[in-house]
């Protein structure tokens, strides 16, 4: 090991002490062996508030090594305050290389998105999870939800989704849309838009989920079946956008609505900033792209999510504007039924 690395070791490489890492590593191993099952772990205090993804940070800290290349995204963007802070944290405590390029990263820590670029074998996607229990909004008692998972009693979850249909004519849940992993455990994919759910299925990358406040770790191994719950007469569908990205012209990507002025001016742009920049570097242009831009950054200060999922409650640490609306284009607000029932707990 080089001298620099040895120096870092003297004040805990990757911040956590070795006993804590061993405990988290054991939990990760069990999570991989039981896909979708939530493994309890003794979450540690981290030098950041819970809302900042301490679960994901602890998972990353336990797996990261000197040869890793880390990417951190928040709602798809590499340059939000949260993403920048977490990246700086690991640069300092683990002296690792960092990148914004999905392709080059060995570990990608994420809040609320899966990158648009396909992941490859050997990559690890670490999700920051606020509420790991998909049944929590149906049943507040941990002992009961544990029993439901043990007995595969997932009927209530289907009833809940069906209530959506009764009320809205379709399944209105658009975030944290529940999935079934390898035909066994119902799992919360974290508050990613359901647009990203299909990317979880048979992904070549390993997916690890860390919930700090709730003290749970779970995993989806590579090449594992992840199926979004649905009904024969109401099959799962991802969000569709009726226009391409205004900057790079991408279609079939997840878009954020960005407010341009107070007169209602707005545009839809890729939520995945790396994907958008790559496409513009390759010469792709959307209808609002500047003529000679080299690196536009409309979402460079993407603010906190308008969703109140309890995960992000550090407004003093996050710049307030401009804040992109979650880009549904249509149907915005309908997912609130699902969210409200969660908040009620």
């Amino acid at each position: 090991m080089n001298i620099q690395a040895t120096d870092i070791a003297t004040y805990n490489f990757a911040y956590l002490d070795e006993q804590t890492k061993r405990m988290i590593r054991r939990a990760i191993l069990k999570g991989i062996a039981i896909p979708g099952y939530q493994v309890p772990f003794a979450s540690r205090e981290m030098p950041m508030p819970y809302g900042w993804g301490t679960g994901g940070v602890q998972v990353t800290a336990s797996i990261i090594g000197p040869d890793d290349i880390l990417k951190v995204i928040d709602q798809g963007a590499d340059d939000t305050t949260n993403a920048v802070s977490i990246r700086a944290f690991f640069k300092k405590v683990a002296d690792v290389a960092v990148t914004t390029e999905t392709e080059k990263a060995t570990i990608i820590q994420t809040r609320h998105r899966i990158p648009e670029a396909p992941l490859h074998a050997g990559q690890v996607l670490v999700y920051q999870v606020p509420i790991p229990e998909p049944l929590r909004f149906l049943e507040p008692r941990e002992t009961e939800t544990r029993k439901m998972h043990a007995l595969e009693e997932y009927g209530l979850m289907h009833v809940k989704l069906y209530e959506d249909i009764a009320r809205h004519g379709h399944i209105a849940t658009t975030y944290a849309y529940p999935v079934k992993v390898e035909g066994r455990y119902v799992m919360d994919p974290s508050p990613t838009p359901k647009f990203d759910n299909p990317k979880m299925n048979m992904s070549p990358a390993l997916q690890l989920f860390g919930a700090g406040r709730e003290k749970r770790i779970y995993a989806v191994p590579p090449f594992t079946k992840v199926v979004s719950l649905d009904f024969e007469d109401h099959p799962f569908e991802i969000q569709k956008f009726d226009q391409p990205c205004a900057l790079c012209g991408a279609e079939q990507v997840y878009l954020d609505e960005v407010i341009l002025d107070d007169k209602g001016g707005h545009m839809f742009v890729c939520s995945d900033t790396d994907h958008c920049e790559k496409r513009r570097e390759d010469g792709h242009r959307g209808h609002m792209a500047p003529e000679n831009e080299s690196r536009a950054s409309p979402s460079s200060s993407a603010g906190p999510s308008p969703r109140k999922d309890g995960e992000e409650e550090a407004p003093t640490l996050t710049p307030p504007s401009p804040r992109p609306l979650r880009g549904e284009g249509k149907g915005e607000g309908q997912h609130q039924t699902f969210e409200k029932s969660r908040e009620a707990e």
Binding site: R22, I34, I64, M202, P222, F223
Partner: protein, 201 residues
């Protein structure tokens, strides 16, 4: 014996443990792959360097450790594990969080180890089997999570009637044990989700 117990641990505990962990994590995530894991420890016989490294990576005073009779019989190996990991010895296989097995061919039945409960299937034993090769045994065809279509592994030696025992282990899902195969050429894993077929079958 004193020096034997103290020598031979990780030279760089933090980075060596991280490297071994990643090898095991990748092997568990992609059953059938062999993850290289250099000779990072030099334990007393009959404990192998790779098995010793895996034990030091995961075991500590929170994890009751079961040793197979061959390791039990080696005071040097026991002292080495005790000194470097601090793991208490498990009274019975059902109490073990990890089991270290130097002679897999003589291993007691898998069902003797902790299987976890239906509500806490993670409370099960992880077996570290010390094998001499991952490629010269009977060909096993692997399917399941972590495997795109099918994978092949040929570890040896294995516990008696292993394929049949594994079928029963698989049937207990989500309960069941997981296996880490520690070989001179590296690490391979069999999580409880893996389905095994022999080539003739």
């Amino acid at each position: 014996m004193e020096t034997q117990a103290i020598d031979g641990g990780f030279a760089n505990p933090v980075f060596d443990a991280q490297a071994v962990f990643r090898a095991v994590m990748d092997a568990m995530a992609r059953p059938g792959t062999i993850q290289p894991c250099g000779g990072l420890t030099v334990p007393p016989a009959p404990l192998s360097p790779v098995a010793g490294a895996v034990a030091l990576t995961f075991c500590d005073n929170d994890t009751p450790l079961w040793l197979d009779p061959a390791l039990q019989a080696s005071a040097a190996a026991k002292h080495w594990l005790g000194f470097h990991s601090g793991s208490p010895l498990a009274h019975t296989p059902a109490d073990a969080q990890f089991a270290l097995v130097s002679s897999p061919a003589e291993l007691i039945a898998l069902e003797n180890f902790a299987q976890g409960t239906q509500e806490y299937p993670d409370r099960s034993t992880t077996l570290i089997l010390q094998v001499t090769s991952l490629s010269s045994g009977e060909n096993l065809l692997l399917e399941g999570p972590g495997i795109e279509k099918a994978a092949m592994l040929a570890p040896t030696p294995l516990p008696r009637h292993f394929v049949e025992q594994w079928k029963q282990n698989r049937a207990r899902f989500p309960r069941g044990v997981d296996v880490i195969l520690a070989a001179p050429e590296g690490i391979a894993c069999l999580p409880r989700t893996t389905r095994i077929k022999t080539m003739e079958a």
